[in-house]
Amino acid sequence: MTGLRGVLILGIPVAVILAFWLLARWERRHNHDPQTPSFVARNGWPVAVFLVVAVSFWALVMVVLPQLYMVDFSFHLKLPPSQRGGPRDVYTLENYQYFLFGSTRSTANWNVTHITAFWLTIVVSMCITVLNFLICYPLAYFMAQVGSGSQVRKLMLLLIIPYWVNELLRAFAFNILFGTSGVLNVILVKAGVIGSPIDFIGQDVALYSGLTYAYLLVMMFPLYNALESLDHNQIEAARDLGAPWWHVHLNVVMPFAKPGIASGCTLVFMLCAGALAAPLVLGGPKTLWFTPIVYDRFYQAFNWNQGSAYAIVLLLTCILFVMMVMRVFRVSLSEITR
């Protein structure tokens, strides 16, 4: 097993580079334009070597191989090192079975906790994505189309400053706000609105608002960039033709800003569904969120294989979401990541 893996680790990059080289030769032979020099000639060989080495290291050794390896790993059982590669080291679905049924032997009962946590994470992440869009849209529109130059510069500065505040610290700030003896409860009790402190953290209010808060600006910047390039005359034209304000937004502005909306939504959803800091800090004892469960597979259960299977479930969800967004908004991947 180890030998095979070693061959894979060394072999795949070499094979891919070879395949690219062959493709390039084929391309040159078939529609060769003598005006365009070859890759090596165009860059000079020291730079060309740097480019090939750097890109293959990044794309293959850092991105593709670890992911493939994790997939392979998730189909194996957790074994002591002495048994690895032995007769018990076979491909199995048990790690995924555990996610569904909570046991590797029986399939009688569903693994209710984990499955509920999974669906809850997806649904809540989607709600937070929509909520963030609704919160950000007016300001993004104002900055892009209405505000004057100096106003926009000031607002931008106000937005950039909190953008770099760490996720953990944002969660901690919400912990102070929402704790049982936190600021909000103290104020509400003093003001006589409520008799005794409300358990915001146990009710997941703290977690959900903390997540909304954490990824607000991730939505803002792509949205603003997309809206900024819209020609204001288009809005004027729609208005002159008698469109009410909400028609202008729904039929002129939003269709134009589609790539920005798609980009913001994908990023917010991905960050929410993969959030670890906020659920760890703001989660109550009964809080359900998927990422901490994955984390616990690694550091509480010490079953890395099972953890990989859980991670892949999360990864597949995110891939599906990106594909769905691309389909619904009819945008390409390069428009989302711009």
Binding site: R5, I9, L23, A24, F39, A41, N43, V47, F50, L51, A54, V55, W58, A59, M62, Q67, Y69, M70, I135, P138, L139, F142, L158, I160, Y163, W164, V165, N166, L168, F172, A173, N175, I176, G179, S181, G182, V183, I187, K190, L216, T266, M270, L271, G274, L276, L280, V281, V294, Y295, F298, W304, G307, S308, A311, L314, L315, C318, L333, I336, T337
Partner: protein, 295 residues
């Protein structure tokens, strides 16, 4: 009250709510850092103190975490800026049929949850270490650097791509016509042109690395960084010392972000000035050309 005033009032109300939501929690946290009470609270404000900041200095783990975070940040910059540059240059040159697949591969880390990048990096390199029989690659700092660079390189690549799109190919041709080699073109034409992008990429890479938690918490293994120490503290319980730490970290990151923004604007202005000077020179030359014929 006219419709316009109502609209303005609503907009103002929204602005207050938005920025209140954005800054409120941070301000509350800042106040708790200087309140003498044992539990982080704003009301009642029992008295002003800086003791919570002093508590931090005695914390060995924290100092070690900060040291590691800075080290990893520097390594990440050194690794992801060249990788991002190479990625962007290959993107502009790769033949069309392979481009979309290549784009998918190198941009996918941006859309992958950080925990997954951390997990896959650790699993992969653990077995690489087993295969080559050396534990030296199974090291927290090394893995955290690699794991973070996986997606930070993609950020850098996107920055370089947008700059490369504005590169005037005639500059390259002019240099080649004047007898420069392709390598010289890279070092004397392309790199100077990319300088602002390199600066941006380096700052963004460092900041992203410094504040990363999701990938780092898996990849760091038994070592600690600032964020993992912080996460441990925050989970243990809330004390005003954490607020104090938060205020410090925010102050440092802000100083960095503001400095970066200022430098970037200066550079932008300088470039605009240069473009204007070039336009003026061109016009003067043009005038010089037509002047003799006019006489």
């Amino acid at each position: 009250m006219s419709a316009r005033t109502v609209q303005r009032l609503m907009m103002g109300f929204y602005f207050v709510l938005f920025f209140g939501f954005l800054f409120g929690p941070l301000l509350v946290m800042a106040v708790t850092a200087v309140n003498t009470s044992q539990y982080p609270q704003v009301l009642p404000f029992e008295g002003f103190t800086l003791d919570w900041f002093a508590v931090l200095l005695d914390d060995r783990n924290l100092v070690e975490g900060i040291r590691n975070s800075v080290l990893i940040g520097i390594f990440v910059v050194l690794l992801s800026v060249p990788l991002g540059l190479a990625g962007a240059m290959v993107m502009t040159q790769i033949y069309a049929r392979a481009r979309s697949l290549y784009y998918l591969v190198v941009v996918s880390p941006v859309l992958t949850p950080g925990v997954i990048i951390g997990i896959s990096t650790v699993i992969f390199w653990r077995d690489v270490a087993d295969s080559i029989g050396s534990e030296s690659v199974y090291d927290g700092l090394f893995l955290a650097t690699l794991g973070q660079s996986t997606f930070i390189s993609a950020y850098c690549m996107l920055i370089f791509l947008s700059r490369l799109q504005r590169f005037d190919q005639s500059q390259r041709e002019a240099a080649l016509d004047l007898g420069a080699t392709h390598t010289q073109v890279f070092f004397h034409i392309l790199l100077p042109f990319l300088k602002p992008a390199i600066f941006s990429a380096a700052v963004i890479a460092f900041l992203s690395s410094f504040e990363n938690y999701n990938t780092t918490t898996f990849a760091i293994l038994a070592d600690k960084t600032l964020t993992t120490v912080l996460a441990g503290r925050v989970r243990q319980g809330t004390t005003p010392a954490i607020s104090a730490l938060a205020v410090l970290i925010i102050a440092i990151t802000l100083a960095g972000a503001v400095l970066y923004e200022v430098l970037r604007r200066i550079e932008q202005r300088r470039e605009e000035g240069r473009a204007r000077a070039a336009a003026v020179a061109e016009r003067a030359e043009f005038a010089g050309e037509i002047a003799p014929s006019a006489v």
